[in-house]
Amino acid sequence: MSTPVAAGTLSASSPAASRAWARWRRRRVAALAESTPATIGIAIVLAWAVLALVAPLIAPYPPNANDMAALAHPTPSKAHWLGTDHLGRDLLSRILWGARPVLVIAPLAVLGAAALGSLLGLAAGYYGRWIDLVITRACDIVLSFPVIILYMIILAHFGSSAWNIVGVLTLTKAPIIARIVRGMTLDLREREYVAAAKMRGESALYIMLVEILPNARGPLVVDMCLRTGYNVIIIGALGFLGIGLPPPDPDWGGMVKDTYGMMMVWPHMALFPCAAISSLVVGFNLLAVGLRELGLRD
């Protein structure tokens, strides 16, 4: 970065270039609004993000408070809009609070996987030879392992906490990102601007992070969007299997696990959390469909 010769840093700081960049960004945002799936997807994800953010302000009850009087009639009522669960806890409040851990863990794990996977993929693609062989083989081994079984063994062994889930999701998703980035690096490292950077005497790390990685971001963004949706599914599934976030704090999957046995009597207890998690994943996946359409257009 300190070398003034770096063409990228020079042009990006000139006013003309920054105006062009701003124009390009505006066009992109306008195009995103044109795509119906993307618009619906953004609306859903933003709605959940806002609800999660203001949950402490708008939730009618504390998420873990039991209303034993309501337990006689736990179905939706004026006092409890979505009813209560089997312990008399307000479902609406629990669903609003339950959006918070999911919306932190899922994107965090995606960022972790993207960072680790990009580094591995860049190193494998740029250096080639034995480094490539070792990284590719290690990724293949992790990928050949049925992921959900890996989660079960690791989380049942180390116990479950938010950080452990982030760690496991990062480790198991990074190989997929590494594979994508490696493929693109193999192509990009032959370009003239990489040769120019080498000639200037830039370090390998600079070339990988500043010259190659930004040009590989298109497919990565779509993939990260899809992966956030999958992570939400997996976090829900882990909660449902009883190896997700520890109780009693609300977690959508865990709420379903606690109450789906009572479906014959009170189906609403399991149905509302299921609807919440499904809508959030639909949001992320529609956003990914929209982004991919955009990518195909230009």
Partner: protein
Amino acid sequence: MKRFVVKHLLFLLLTLFAVSFLVFTLNEFSPGAVARKILGAYATQEQVDLLTRQMGLDRPVLVRYVDYLGALASGDLGYSTRFKLPVREVIFKHLANTALLAAVAFACIVPLSTVLGAVAGMREASRLDRVILMFSTVIASIPEFALGVFLASVFVVWLGWLPGTATLVAGGGWSVAAQLVLPVAVIVLFDSGYVVSMVRASMVEVMQRPYIRTAVLKGLPFRAVILRHALRNAMLTPVTVIMLQINYLVAGVVVVETVFAYPGFGRMILEAALFKDIALIEAGALVAVFLAVVTNILGDVAYMLLDPRIRA
């Protein structure tokens, strides 16, 4: 071809070694912990120490790992503390149950997603394409347990047509066939969404090739172009994807099995993990990885057989 298979079998062996070593060290790194897991939280420390010495757990991890490999090679998988049976019997029984579920689901997924994907991809961006794409995206977005709850609330709670559990014990007036309907439906819906989009993408790509344009321009009926020229080539890429679904069907359906209390392989591993039944976890993980890598190889072989261009 021969070189390809040998290379992949070597990779299979390497993977199995790596996985068995990882799972072994993860479970048995601290010697006292193994005896503690077997005896439970209420055993005294003397009992734990005694068992540790008896089982030879105080020896170095590497030595014990070699021992363990020797036992594996002679076919001795150990004893399951959770099911009170030899591990081999437990795994065999649960694997057979899962194979039944997976076979029925697979038999539905393949034709369904091929037809939908091909129909959607043959005219890109047509109304039918958009409807199918939207539908498969939304269906694939719903977690399996939520799909299970949605379907059960309609067909079990509301209509009362089907049983809510599939324990495979014909009882309560429901046949085993009726018990299988809902689990299979959940798996087929969840998985098809993904496979449909793969087949569609491949079909879209094939329809842009020059030979399709030639076939249309020389006056072939559209139906003949699709059936005789496009479909066969469009199925090349998805074959690998479809073979990978076997992997998901064997191990990934643990959530569906849990929803419907189905005594399958995934649930067995979950129970083993929660119960700290180490012998069963280790053997189960090996079986799962073995199946995963073998279906991977079969997918590649099928791809080579279908595509003469890469048959070297």
